[in-house]
């Protein structure tokens, strides 16, 4: 199966505090790189004779396949989550209140987890757990960490490639800028879709949902 890179879903010239250069470099090199890598790995896996291949070769390829697949998916989620005004409301706020006590508490937890990953690599994911039927903030130290059975709806990239060009090592300011640009309309659509799988919300419902 060949993976195809999605076009950038947010307008990189319109983000506040995140430069076009940074977003484009991130999208072309890191996201694009993951897709290209994944396709190269897929070809190698197709051609591999699993019965005869040594374990370390299989381990290596399968590990890289997991890294590249998750990197691709999480980056798409990241860019889809940008381009908004950072102001949440409606169904999202209700869900956050339900699962975290208050929107502020969720925010503090999400932001704090992001800032704790400064100087390294990782993700902070707001994920919906089908098992527990609730939202959780998930910490990931690389592309392979994922909540089993969870569906991420908001992804904050804490790899340094997502902020060094604009902020140097000042991860705190980057996290604050990210929060200002969250596209909650997209997130609300994902939440709706995740909580009621199979029924894709119409645009009207999505808009209605966050009012």
């Amino acid at each position: 199966m060949t993976s195809i890179a999605k076009p950038l879903s947010c307008d990189p010239t319109k983000l506040r505090g995140l430069s076009e250069k940074l977003i484009l470099s991130h999208w072309e090199n890191n996201y694009g790189g993951a897709v290209r890598r994944l396709n190269a790995i897929a070809i190698q896996l197709t051609e591999l004779d699993f019965a005869k291949a040594p374990g370390f070769v299989i381990n290596g390829l399968k590990r890289e396949e997991l890294i590249a697949t998750n990197s691709m998916i999480l980056h798409e989620l990241y860019f889809d989550g940008l381009g908004g005004d950072g102001i949440s409301g409606g169904a999202i706020d209700e869900a956050l209140k339900r699962d975290f006590g208050s929107v502020d508490r969720w925010r503090a937890e999400f932001i704090g987890t992001g800032k704790a990953l400064r100087g390294g690599a990782g993700w902070v994911l707001l994920s919906y757990s089908q098992r527990d039927q609730r939202l959780m903030n998930q910490w990931a130290a690389d592309h392979t960490h994922a909540l089993a059975g969870g569906t991420p709806i908001l992804a904050l990239d804490m790899y340094e490639h997502s902020y060094q060009l604009d902020y140097g090592a000042s991860a705190e300011r980057y996290v604050d800028a990210f929060m200002e640009n969250i596209n909650w309309i997209n997130i609300a659509a994902l939440l709706l879709q995740t909580q009621a799988p199979g029924e894709r919300g119409s645009e009207f419902e999505v808009w209605g949902g966050i009012r």
């Binding site: 090199n29 790189g33 100087g119 690599a121 690389d142 790899y159 340094e160 490639h161 140097g168 090592a169």
Partner: protein
């Protein structure tokens, strides 16, 4: 045990193709943050009660391991930069091309790699494989096997057992994004240009002879009295009346917005003009940018005039790395106009 901030071992303004801004941010923010966080984690571990849940301990021990790795590897990384005699034409290191490694180093690793170029190819390719992520590449000497090998680490916690790191390359994106964006090939190439092979060879000598790696603190090479950032913080906390002199060069001040909280900027080239303003019987702590020359020279002059003066090891950069307070500097322009 308190982890102390080591002064940066290389002069950040002298590197070729690695900007001072990037190196200083790397040192003050990433390295400094690791030192501070390690001290917090150790305090929390010490305060942990017997009945604490295992996951708390596990989390803290994981962070402790990661931070110990980060502190040690960063010190080694800065330490193996700044080669003023890099291999190259007229370097005296026996290579016509600075891409290649010096002969003495090639001889050291000859038994374990087909050639110095084969070693370099593997080291560079290992580093390139970490592009867009995080990690380290370490040339280590295994004390157990008596051999060199290139080790990959995908985070601070991974290290070879019983091995001495002799050449360390930081592949976290903070090490290159600011100057190179995603172009890791250019970064790795530039790193090679800046390797301090003398330092690497000294480490190899120590590792081969089962000695600890050499002390690379540049402040340990002088007899001029000095004070560490931790000791200065104690002086300030105890209200000892220590007088703090910011003696950074005037051109350096014009590029920097801030100085140490409580310090006064004094022109290092005009000591005679301000020396009378100092109180004679109280300690004078003098700092410059990184603790190499300017602060030491001013300290020496003050001592010759009878003051109890010490230079700050690692300069104001080490102070910021330790989390020390900073203040916006008074306008240097009007300060100069008064003179």
């Amino acid at each position: 045990m308190q982890q102390k901030v080591a002064p940066i071992a290389v002069r950040p303004s002298t590197l070729s193709g690695l900007s001072e801004r990037m190196i200083v941010s790397h040192y003050e923010d990433c390295y400094g943050n690791a030192v501070r966080a390690l001290n917090v984690v150790r305090r929390e571990l010490a305060a942990l009660e017997a009945g604490a849940p295992p996951y708390r301990l596990r989390g803290l021990k994981y962070e402790e391991l990661s931070l110990i790795g980060s502190v040690a590897l960063h010190e080694l990384y800065f330490g193996n930069l700044g080669g003023f005699r890099r291999a190259g034409p007229n370097s005296g290191l026996g290579r016509p091309d600075w891409h290649e490694v010096p002969d003495a180093f090639a001889a050291e690793i000859a038994a374990d790699f087909a050639s110095a170029s084969a070693w370099r190819r593997e080291f560079v390719a290992t580093a390139q494989s970490l592009a867009g992520g995080a990690g380290w590449v370490v040339l280590g000497y295994s004390r157990r096997q008596k051999r060199f090998w290139n080790q990959i680490a995908t985070d601070h916690t991974q290290a070879a057992v019983d091995s001495s790191p002799v050449l360390v390359l930081d592949m976290y994106e903070h090490a290159y994004q600011m100057d190179f964006g995603v172009n890791v090939t250019a970064y790795i190439d530039t790193f090679f240009r800046n390797i301090n092979w003398e330092t690497v060879l000294k480490r190899i000598e120590a590792a081969r002879n089962d000695r600890p790696l050499p002390d690379e603190d540049p402040s340990s090479t002088t007899d001029i009295p000095s004070i560490s950032v931790e000791e200065l913080a104690m002086q300030i906390a105890n209200d000892s009346g220590v007088q703090i002199v910011d003696a950074r060069a005037r051109e350096h001040m014009s590029l920097n917005m801030d100085l140490m909280a409580g310090a006064t900027w004094r022109d290092p080239d005009r000591v005679a003009e301000w020396i009378a303003e100092l109180e004679p019987h109280k300690l004078v702590a003098v700092y410059c940018a990184y603790g190499f020359d300017v602060g030491r020279n001013v300290t020496k002059t003050l001592i010759e005039r009878g003051f109890d003066a010490r230079f700050l090891r690692g300069g104001v950069s080490a102070w910021y790395a330790s989390g020390g307070a900073r203040a916006l500097r008074p306008d240097v322009g009007s300060h100069l106009a008064e003179r």
